[in-house]
């Protein structure tokens, strides 16, 4: 048994790309081992921005031997009437490089075949790996590649070294013009270039002597522990999110946390600006006090120990210079009349073929008008239309031109500073939220409404322009916009049917009536698909629960969620089984028949009269419950009718020979079916057991 040590030394890979490449590499190795039938033990794959390491234990030096059968043509094709070999058989032998005498008859389920048996496997693992590794590396894909040497082989960054040690011997591998060698490089700054590696033990020892913390988990716990130390020392909280942790993890091979402070006068800038400059510009973390207020401290992660405080002091200077710039933008922008900037939006193109931002905000105001009506917030109309007209003005400010991630936020802050009404500035401030489904819960109604308008305009615009999205392609973020609309509706509990909004938004970009209908349909399908995804993947509703509520042709997003919630409760309380059985039975009868008219006068038997009376008595109450979105109560009231319906089925022959009687009975059942279907299609629930969530 031998082990394989592979290390690819690379110049700095962009931090946020590293873990994806590591996962690809691991998958490619496993696939290749399987393809080459190389048995193996544990596979370890770890990465930093400068190296990707794969260590595979317990590889036999030869792959297992076995007898292999190669089927040739069927016997009736392989031999002619006289039992002589045909061209098909000769070709087979030629291809397999065997003689006709090697061919044997093989019995299969499909009949008799000719073919050969031969010894297979027993291959040299070293040779297979030597051939396999360049193929593995060639299989890696990257968002952006480069070339740098005569090999012209695209890769993410130049490759410095390839170490392939099998059974402690170097394998001769070449990729992208780089030949394998056992010289591994250490830390960029702290190590004296290369060290030699002749075993996995050498490798691990060499790395630790040369200031490389190889394993992600170790780097991560070092960073977290050192941040905790600083939090205790400063009695504060460091604002670390996953993306920044990931960035630090993959931009340092020897991470050391440092802290520093800046002149407190810059705390006079809005917190949003300070935070954006620290995180996005300088890769430093803001520090807040116990009350959650920003302090003049920051935390960062260096790739070397900072005993002399050089790193900390350097970063202090840099962050203050950045704040100096921020201060300049903040002051110069506020000298402008914010509302006057709107006219200049006539010069700013929103998207090719979709007009300017000036035209966009005019459209947004119309969409907002519809939205305040549909959500019964007419009182906000004037303020939210003002917000809509002016929500893109900040694109012309120096701050946003320099830092596009602050768009919206800056518009809000500039108006707040100018003393504008809170509803107006807050709507502009928050109208780019949410960035994703996992964002924190949205609170501001005005911002939510403006955001829905903006997103719907984006979606209608791109779809109107003919942009198609697929599972892998969504260059304009149409899906993200639809997800955002769904999240806003859910967070703010808006009882909004999107259909009229979609129509109005689509109308702005339609070339003709047919085009309008097509785009309207496409957008509805987009939202249906996103909602389904939201319920299944985000809220973890079981697929059949989601199917049961998705059917009805409505764009009332929140209703579908409430219905799913009710169905899950019905599943959990055991009420779903009789409901599902009832709905299936009703659908069976109703789906085969055309729509029938009901007349009380045609009721003949006792059981159908009782059912009709009970239904009449319950219907208005249940309709009312449905209107009030109390889907659980509505369902259980329907369920209460079940004994009477069952009795009806027991005693009454629906398919009576008398056609008017038959049609009348079907009509009664159709009414009940419609009522039930207004809640959900219970017949689609397949697993009648508790746990409507996955």
């Amino acid at each position: 048994m031998a082990d394989l040590l592979f290390e690819l030394g690379v110049e700095e890979i962009p931090a946020l790309a590293v873990s994806g490449i590591r996962d690809q590499l691991r998958d490619l190795f496993l696939a290749r081992l399987a393809q080459d039938q190389i048995a193996h033990g544990d596979v370890e794959c770890v990465a930093s921005n400068r190296r990707l390491m794969v260590h595979i234990a317990q590889i036999p030096e030869k792959t297992a031997s076995k007898e292999e059968t190669v089927l040739g043509p069927a016997k009736r094709i392989a031999l002619d009437d006289r039992g002589l070999p045909t061209v098909a058989l000769k070709k087979f032998c030629e291809f397999q490089k065997v003689k006709l005498t090697d061919v044997v008859e093989i019995e299969t389920a499909k009949g008799k075949y000719l073919g050969i048996t031969r010894a297979a496997g027993g291959n040299d693992a070293a040779a297979l790996l030597t051939a396999g590794i360049p193929a593995i590396l060639a299989g890696l894909t990257f968002p952006k590649t480069m070339v740098w040497n005569e090999s012209r082989r695209p890769f993410i960054r130049p490759i410095k070294n390839i170490l392939v040690l099998f059974n402690n011997k170097l394998l001769d591998v070449e990729f992208a013009g780089v030949k394998s060698s056992n010289k591994v490089f250490g830390h960029l700054l702290l190590s004296d270039s290369y060290f030699e590696v002749n075993s996995f033990k050498d490798y691990i020892q060499g790395l630790s002597k040369n200031f490389i913390i190889l394993k992600e988990e170790e780097r991560k716990s070092k960073i977290l522990a050192e941040i905790l130390d600083i939090e205790e020392e400063l009695e504060c909280q460091v604002k670390l999110d996953d993306e920044m942790l990931n960035y630090y993890l993959y931009s340092n091979e020897y991470p050391v946390v440092f802290s520093g402070s800046f002149n407190a006068k810059y705390l006079g800038l809005p917190a949003e600006i300070i935070t954006a400059f620290m995180i996005h510009e300088k890769k430093l973390l803001p520090v807040v006090d116990r009350a959650g207020k920003l302090t003049n401290h920051f935390v960062g992660v260096a790739n070397i120990p900072d005993e002399n405080k050089k790193v900390s002091h350097g970063n202090e200077k840099v962050i203050q210079a950045a704040f100096e710039d921020a201060q300049f933008f903040w002051e110069i922008d506020r000298k402008e009349d914010y509302f006057a900037l709107k006219q200049l939006l006539k010069n700013v193109v929103f998207q090719k073929e979709l007009g300017t931002y000036f035209e966009k905000v005019e459209r947004l105001a119309a969409l907002v008008d519809l939205l305040v009506n549909e959500t019964q917030h007419g009182a906000l109309r004037a303020k939210l239309q003002k917000a809509a007209f002016n929500c893109k003005n900040d694109l012309l400010t120096k701050m946003v031109r320099e830092f596009p991630s602050l768009q919206g936020i800056m518009g809000g802050l500039y108006l707040q500073a100018a003393g504008e009404d809170e509803t107006v500035w807050k709507a502009i401030y928050g109208h780019y939220k949410p960035r994703g489904l996992t964002d924190e819960k949205l609170e501001d109604l005005g911002a939510g409404i403006l955001s829905i308008a903006d997103r719907m305009d984006n979606i209608a615009g791109f779809i109107g322009k003919g942009i198609k999205i697929s599972s892998s392609k969504d260059p304009y973020g149409i899906r993200r916009d639809a997800n955002a609309v769904i999240k806003i509706i859910m967070d703010l509990e808006l009882g909004l049917d999107l259909a009229p909004l979609i129509r109005l938004a689509a109308l702005n970009f339609a070339k003709n009536d047919a085009d309008l209908e097509q785009n309207y349909k496409t957008i509805r399908e987009l939202f249906a698909a996103r909602l389904e995804n939201y319920l299944k993947d985000h809220l973890k509703y079981r697929y059949d629960v989601v199917n049961a509520v998705m059917g009805q042709d409505t764009m009332a997003i929140r209703d579908k969620f409430l219905k799913a919630q009710a169905v899950v409760k019905l599943v959990d309380s055991g009420m779903i089984e009789p409901l599902a059985a009832l709905h299936r039975r009703l659908k069976n009868i109703c789906s085969d028949s055309e729509r029938c008219n009901f007349s009380e006068g045609l009721l003949k038997e006792k059981e159908e009269k009782i059912l009709s009376d009970v239904f009449k008595e319950s219907k208005s109450r249940i309709d009312d419950l449905i209107m009030k979105k109390n889907f659980l109560q509505a369902s259980s009231e329907i369920l209460e009718m079940k004994p009477i319906i069952d009795r009806f089925f027991e005693k009454i022959l629906v398919m009576d020979k008398n056609v008017p009687l038959r049609k009348n009975r079907i009509a009664l059942l159709q009414h009940i079916n419609e009522l039930l279907s207004a809640v959900a299609d219970f017949s689609l629930l397949v697993e009648i057991k508790s746990g409507g969530k996955t």
């Binding site: 040497n149 931009s251 300088k282 260096a302 070397i304 790193v311 203050q320 100096e324 710039d325 010069n347």
Partner: protein, 285 residues
């Protein structure tokens, strides 16, 4: 360390490593990359090693002399190594050591930052080099220039001279820098920054500049018809600087920006093709 010593030391360092020490170009450029010693010489097959000090104008970066870290005209030190050396990063670190940077106590990072100049049809892959959080250098493997795929590729190292001097001298404000022999940066540049900021942001004549852009463009096209790609390129540089002033004046809309960039990119591409044709013959793309 003074500003002039940073320049002198870098010239020494790269001269010893085989670079020809050029002068910066005598026309306004936004970056050392636009200098003919880079723009033309990265094209084609011939090896090329050059290093030069290039003042770079970015009208929009002006701060009226009031920002300690930003100016509308700064100084770059540009190195082109063609083909790409195998140990470019280490060579660069050596140059920092030569300047007196102790790389064991300063956090030097190669932070993902790809470079592109849409108006020159040029782009590359690489990093901004950060030293204790300060961007001191742009380190780029050129992939394309003038719309032409480069083969061999070049390594471009662009040092920010003021940034390096501030770092080496421990200064927080670039106007406190010593340019050399006690001549202060403020004495040399403060008034220039103030006047050019007022000009670029407030007084530049928009109509005149728009007119000039068109004239420069026409002149470049006319010269190209005569196969005079070197003077034609000068007029593209003039277009570029004119564009930058108009941009600082907020006189360019997004749509117009795309159009004007397209004009410059097309000119740069035609110029690059003529250069390759003349110096490399028909057998090169």
């Amino acid at each position: 360390m003074s500003v002039q010593n940073v320049i002198l030391k870098l010239q020494e360092f790269w001269a010893e490593r085989g670079c020809y020490i050029a002068s910066g170009y005598d026309s306004e450029v936004g970056a050392g990359t636009m200098t003919p010693d880079t723009f033309f010489r990265v094209l084609g097959k011939k090896p090329w090693q050059v290093a030069y000090w290039q003042p770079a104008r970015r009208p929009d970066d002006g701060r009226y002399g009031q920002n300690p870290n930003r100016v509308q005209k700064h100084n770059q030190f540009q190195v082109i190594l063609k083909p790409v050396p195998v140990d470019g990063q280490l060579l660069f670190l050596d140059s920092l050591i030569y300047l007196g940077v102790d790389i064991r106590i300063h956090d030097i990072k190669f932070d993902d930052d790809n470079w592109a100049s849409p108006s020159l049809g040029a782009w590359g892959v690489g990093w901004q080099v950060m030293c204790d959080g300060l961007e001191i250098t742009q380190f780029t493997y050129f992939q394309q220039a003038g719309g032409i795929e480069l083969n061999p590729n070049s390594l471009e190292i662009t040092y920010g001279v003021e940034r390096l001097a501030m770092f080496l001298d421990g200064k927080n404000n670039l106007y406190e820098l010593d340019w050399g022999n006690k001549v202060s940066y403020a004495h040399l540049k403060l008034e220039e920054e103030r006047q050019f900021s007022i000009y670029n942001f407030e007084l530049a004549d928009i109509d005149m500049l728009r007119g000039l852009f068109v004239q420069y463009q026409k002149e470049a096209e006319r010269l190209l018809d005569h196969n005079l790609f070197l003077p034609a390129y000068d007029y593209v540089l003039k277009c570029s600087h004119t564009f930058n002033i108009l941009d600082a004046r907020k006189a360019i809309s997004v749509a117009e920006r795309t159009a004007l960039m397209g004009i410059m990119r097309n000119l740069a591409a035609r110029i690059a093709q003529k250069y390759v044709m003349q110096t490399e013959g028909e057998n090169h793309g």
